[in-house]
Symmetry: C2
Subunit: 573 residues, 2 copies
C-alpha cells in the first residue's frame, strides 16, 4: 500500500453480485482475517485494520479476530460508527481510498468520490491469494415454476419500456434464476448459478462461466434457452458488452450491480430498483403448492428426528449437537426432491442456543443430556420449494425461567401467526405482535422476526420483512415469510420458534380488504414446557388446532411408533 | 387571473407560521369556498376549482362545496392525487403559478420553480376580501414552566453555535410561546401569540403586533422580556430585518417558515428542522405536575358532567347534543386556572358519533334518548396544563354490535396503555397494539391512535405520534401523548376512548432499558356496555385498577350524590 500511495483499502465480504452469501472464491474477508461470519467488511490503513460486523457475530468475531491485529467495529448497535463515518473521522480529505469495485455496490464507492481520491482495483487480492478458489461451475438445470420464462421476460420488458429504456442488466443471482426458471449449485445452500442476464426489448443474453465442454445438464438447459432466443455468452463478456456500448438507455439494479460494471458502462445508464424482487416474492399457485409439499416432507423428517432425539437422549446414548445435526440431515436427504440444506443447521443445546447464529462444532460438540432446552434451526432445498424451521424442545426437566421463556416466545409466535390486518400493512407494523408478550415482561430479542423465503431459491429474500426497521413493502397475498421470535440468555439457554407463514386475502367488509397468514410449516410444538396460564384462550386454541393439524397431516407418513408418539405429543392442552 | 396572465392560483388554508389552526384572518379557504374544515388547500385555474382535504372531512366537504363550483379532491386515500401531481397533470410547463407565499411553506413553492413560472403575491386576496379580520392582538402574559427563558435561550444558542450559525428565526407559534414562557389567546383554543422570535448569539427579538398603547398584561410581560434583554419589535419588522441583511448564517425552520420570508432573506440561510419541537415535547417535572393537576380538575368536571348526563337522559328532560356540550363547558369553567377549551367539544349521539370530527350543531341538535352510545371528545386549557379526553357512554340499552365495538376499542386502548417497550421504540411501532383487537375481528379506524399534547399549548403537537405513518421519533420519558382508538359505523354509531398517557422509564435489565406509560387522565370507563369475555385477564385487571384509582383520586372533590354514583360506576367487574 505504501509503495502504491494507498491510504486505505476497503474490502467487502460480498461477490460481484452483491450476494448475501458469496461462494468460496469471494470469502476474501475470511481469507484475510480468519473471521468466518457471513457479513463483514474491512478497512485497512497504515495504522489500523478494522472489521465491521453486526450483533449476530460479536462473540464469534471476538474469538476469531483475537491476535490477528484486526479490531472489531460493531454494527447494528446504537453507538455504531459505520465505515463511511469512520473513514471521514480517520482519513483526511484527498486521501487515496482503494476499493475492489467488482465486489462493492455502486453507492458504497460513489459516496466518497467528492471528498477522496478513489481508485478501483478489481480483484485486487488476486496477486496475494495464491490458491484462491475458482468461480464455481455446477450443472445448470431448468425447473417448473408455474410461469414460463417467456411470460416473465415479457413482463420485465414492459417494465423496461415503461422506464423508456432499451434494456436491463439483472445482476442479482436469485433474480436471474427466477426469470429463466433455472437453478444450479454454485453457492452452498443457494441453488443459483453465478451469472448475469441482460434483457433487451427483443432478446436476452445469459452471461455464465462454462468450460468449452460443459456438463450434460447445462448443455440441455442451454439448448432450451437458446431455442427460446436467449443467447449464452461467457461470464466475463458482460464487461465487454457494457463497455463497448449499448444502444439506448440501460437500467442497472441499484441494489446489486457492482461499482466496477457500473463505471465501465458507456451507455446511457439509470440505476433503479429491480422490479423482480417484489414479483418473485409473491408466489404463484404452483409455487405455493410446491412450498406446501416441501413443508410436508420436511415435517416428516423433523418429526422422525424429534422422536429419535427424545429416545436417544432418554436412553443416554451420549449423542452430541453434531450427531443430531447429522441425523437430521440424513432424514431430510431421504425425502423426494431434496437437493441439499438451505443453510447450515444450527443444532444447539443450552448455552449454545443463546447464540442466535451458533455454529455447531464437528469436533467436541457439546453432549445432550436429559434436561433443559435444545434448539434446532434448519431447512432444506427441494426441487419444488425451500424450508426453514426452528424447534426448541425440552430434553427433560426445565427450570421455571426456561419454561417462561419457552412459553412467551411461543405466545409471540402465535400472536403473529394469528394476525389479521388491513391490506397495505407492512411487516414493520406487525413486528410488535411477536414481541409484545416478551416486552410485557421486559424480555426481547435482537434480530428480526421474519424474512421472506424463496421458492427453491435463497432462504432469505426480500423485499418484505417483519422487523422493526422501517420497510414500506406491504405484505401481499402470496408472500411467504418466516415467523421466528426468540430469546437468548448468555451462558444459559436460548429459545426460538419458527414456522413459515403464507400471506392470504381474508375477505372485504365495510372497513376494507383484509389479509391473514396461513402457517405452512408442519411440525408440532412441544407442550410439556408450556406455562399454561401465560397463554390466552385464543392462543391455546390456535396451538391445539395447529398440533392437531400437524398430526393429521403427517401421521399417514410416519411409522406406527412415531405416529403414536406424535399423537401423545399433539394432545390438546 | 386572465388579465394578469395567471394560469393557476394555489392557496393554502394556513397562516404565515404554517399553523395547523389559523386565526380567522387566515381562514381564506373558508371565505372563498364556504368549507369550514380545519385542513384544506385550493387550486383555481381557468377551467377548474379544486379543494383538497383529508378523509376526516369528506362528508362535510361534500355538503359544504355543493353548488360552489369547487370539486373535492380527496387526500389520505390510496388513490390520492395531491396538488403537485395534479398541477403537473393539468398545467403545461412554463404555466404561471401564483402563490400567496406568506401562507405557504417553502417546499410547497420551490418544488415548482424548475418547471413553472412561479409568482409570489403575498396577501393576494386582501383586495377582494373587504372585511378580512385583522391580525388578532390579545393580552400576552408570562407563565411558570419549570425552566427559565434564559435557560431555554441558552440551550437554543448552543444548537445555533453547533450549526456554525449566528441566529435562528423561530416561526412556529407554540415554539415562540415555549421558548419565552409566554401565552396569549390570539388563536381560538390555542393559547399563543402571533409572533416571530429571532434568536442570535447575544440577543433575541420578539416580533409581535401591538398597538401603540397595549393592554396592561402585555405591557407587564414586555417589560419582563425587555429586562431580560429581549427586544420587542413590530410584527412586520421581521421582513425588514431579514431583507436588510443579517450577519452570518441564519437558520430557518424548514417546517414552519413561509416562502415569502425565506425568499426575502438576504443572509446566508440554512433551512433545518427546529430542535425546539422535540425538547418541548419532553415535559419537565414542573410541567408534568401541572398536567397531572389539569387532568384531576378535568376529571372532576367530566364526572359531574357524566352524572348530570345520565340523570338528565333518564328523567327525559329532552336535552340535546348541544345542551350537553354547553353543560360540560360550564362545569369546566368552574375549575381553577381554566382559560378556555382546548378545541371545539365534539358532543355526538348515535350516527353523529360515526363522524370522527363531527361538529355539534347549535340549532336543531339531535336529542339524546335512553338508548345507544353517546360520545364526547373535549378538552381544556388551564394555566398549568392542557387536557384532551374522549368518553363514550351508553345512555341506555345498547345493541350487541354497539357493545362489541365499545369493548374492542377499550381493549385496544388498554393494550396500548399497558405497553412496556425498549428505549428507542417509535410510536409507529406501538400503534398496532391499539388496533390488533379490532383487526382481529376485521374492524379498524381511519385516524391515528395518538398525538402529542402541549403544556398549556396546542392540543396537537409533535414530533412523536402513535400512528401507522413512519415516524422515527422514539417515545421519550416525559412525552405526553393521547391514546384514542375508535370505531365508526356510518349512520349507526361511533366509539372512541381517549386518555392522555405519560411515557416513563421502567428500569433496566440484561435486555436493555425499558419504557412504559402512566395514564394521566382521570375519568372512569363505563363498564355496563362491556362484553366481558372479550377482555383478557390482564385487561380486566387494568380496567378495575384504573376505575378504582379514578374513584380514589376524584371522590374527595365530588358531592355525595356524585360520589356514590361514581362508586357504583367504578365497581370492579
Amino acid at each position: 500500500m505504501r509503495a502504491r500511495g494507498w491510504d486505505a483499502l476497503v474490502l467487502s465480504g460480498s461477490d460481484p453480485h452483491c450476494s448475501e452469501y458469496p461462494a468460496a472464491r469471494w470469502k476474501q474477508i475470511e481469507w484475510i482475517t480468519g473471521f468466518t461470519g457471513e457479513a463483514a467488511d474491512i478497512v485497512i490503513t497504515q495504522d489500523h485494520a478494522g472489521l465491521w460486523t453486526d450483533s449476530r457475530y460479536f462473540i464469534q468475531a471476538g474469538i476469531q479476530l483475537d491476535g490477528t491485529g484486526f479490531t472489531l467495529h460493531k454494527t447494528r448497535v446504537p453507538e455504531q460508527v459505520l465505515i463511511p463515518e469512520w473513514i471521514r473521522q480517520n482519513l483526511e480529505a484527498d486521501s487515496v481510498l482503494v476499493f475492489d469495485g467488482s465486489c462493492q455496490c455502486v453507492d458504497a464507492v460513489t459516496e466518497f468520490t467528492d471528498e477522496y481520491s478513489v481508485a478501483n482495483v478489481p480483484n485486487l487480492i488476486d496477486v496475494l491469494w495464491k490458491d484462491r478458489p475458482a468461480i464455481p461451475q455446477t450443472p445448470v438445470f431448468a425447473i417448473e415454476a408455474g410461469e414460463t420464462r417467456a411470460s416473465k421476460l415479457a413482463w420485465l420488458r414492459e417494465f423496461i419500456a415503461g422506464k423508456d429504456a432499451s434494456g436491463m442488466l439483472i445482476s442479482a443471482l436469485d433474480e436471474v434464476a427466477w426469470l429463466l426458471n433455472i437453478r444450479a449449485s454454485d453457492i452452498e445452500y443457494n441453488p443459483m448459478a453465478i451469472a448475469y442476464l441482460l434483457v433487451t426489448g427483443k432478446d436476452a443474453s445469459l452471461f455464465i462461466l462454462k468450460d468449452d465442454d460443459p456438463d450434460p445438464d447445462s448443455c440441455a438447459t442451454f439448448d432450451i434457452l437458446r431455442s427460446q432466443g436467449i443467447h449464452i455468452l461467457p461470464y466475463s463478456d458482460v464487461e465487454l458488452v457494457l463497455s463497448e456500448g449499448f444502444e439506448g438507455k440501460l437500467l442497472l439494479d441499484s441494489d446489486t450491480v457492482n461499482y466496477n460494471l457500473w463505471s465501465m458502462c458507456s451507455a446511457d445508464v439509470e440505476l433503479c430498483g429491480s422490479p423482480v424482487q417484489l414479483r418473485k416474492a409473491v408466489k404463484n399457485d404452483y409455487e405455493i403448492q410446491g412450498m406446501r409439499k416441501a413443508q410436508l416432507l420436511d415435517g416428516i423428517a423433523m418429526e422422525n428426528f424429534l422422536y429419535w432425539l427424545e429416545k436417544s437422549v432418554q436412553s443416554q446414548q451420549g449423542i452430541t449437537e453434531w450427531d443430531a445435526a447429522v441425523k437430521l440431515g440424513k432424514l431430510r436427504a431421504e425425502n423426494e426432491g431434496y437437493t441439499g440444506d438451505s443453510f447450515e443447521t444450527i443444532s444447539a443445546y443450552g448455552p449454545g442456543a443463546a447464540l442466535p447464529h451458533y455454529i455447531t462444532p464437528e469436533e467436541n460438540a457439546p453432549m445432550l443430556f436429559e434436561r433443559g432446552l435444545y434448539l434446532c434451526d434448519s431447512g432444506a432445498q427441494y426441487g419444488f420449494g425451500t424450508t426453514d424451521i426452528t424447534r426448541t424442545v425440552p430434553l427433560g426437566e426445565c427450570t421455571s425461567l426456561e419454561k417462561e421463556d419457552y412459553t412467551l416466545v411461543l405466545k409471540g409466535h402465535i400472536d403473529l401467526a394469528m394476525a389479521v390486518f388491513p391490506e397495505g400493512t407492512a411487516g414493520c407494523h406487525l413486528d410488535v405482535l411477536a414481541r409484545n408478550p416478551l416486552w410485557s415482561s421486559k424480555r426481547n430479542f435482537g434480530h428480526g422476526t421474519g424474512h421472506g423465503v424463496g421458492f427453491f431459491l435463497g432462504v432469505h429474500e426480500g423485499p418484505q420483512g417483519i422487523r422493526q426497521n422501517f420497510n414500506s413493502t406491504p405484505m401481499k397475498a402470496g408472500m411467504i415469510t418466516s415467523d421466528e421470535p426468540g430469546i437468548y440468555r448468555e451462558g444459559k439457554h436460548g429459545v426460538r420458534h419458527e414456522n413459515l407463514i403464507l400471506c392470504k386475502e381474508a375477505g372485504t367488509n365495510s372497513f376494507g380488504k383484509w389479509m391473514e397468514f396461513e402457517t405452512l410449516t408442519l411440525c408440532h410444538f412441544d407442550t410439556s414446557a408450556i406455562v399454561r396460564e401465560l397463554l390466552g384462550k385464543a392462543e391455546t386454541e390456535w396451538l391445539n388446532r395447529y398440533n392437531r393439524r400437524v398430526y393429521e397431516s403427517l401421521s399417514p407418513y410416519l411409522s406406527s411408533e412415531v405416529r403414536d408418539w406424535l399423537r401423545d405429543k399433539t394432545a390438546a392442552i
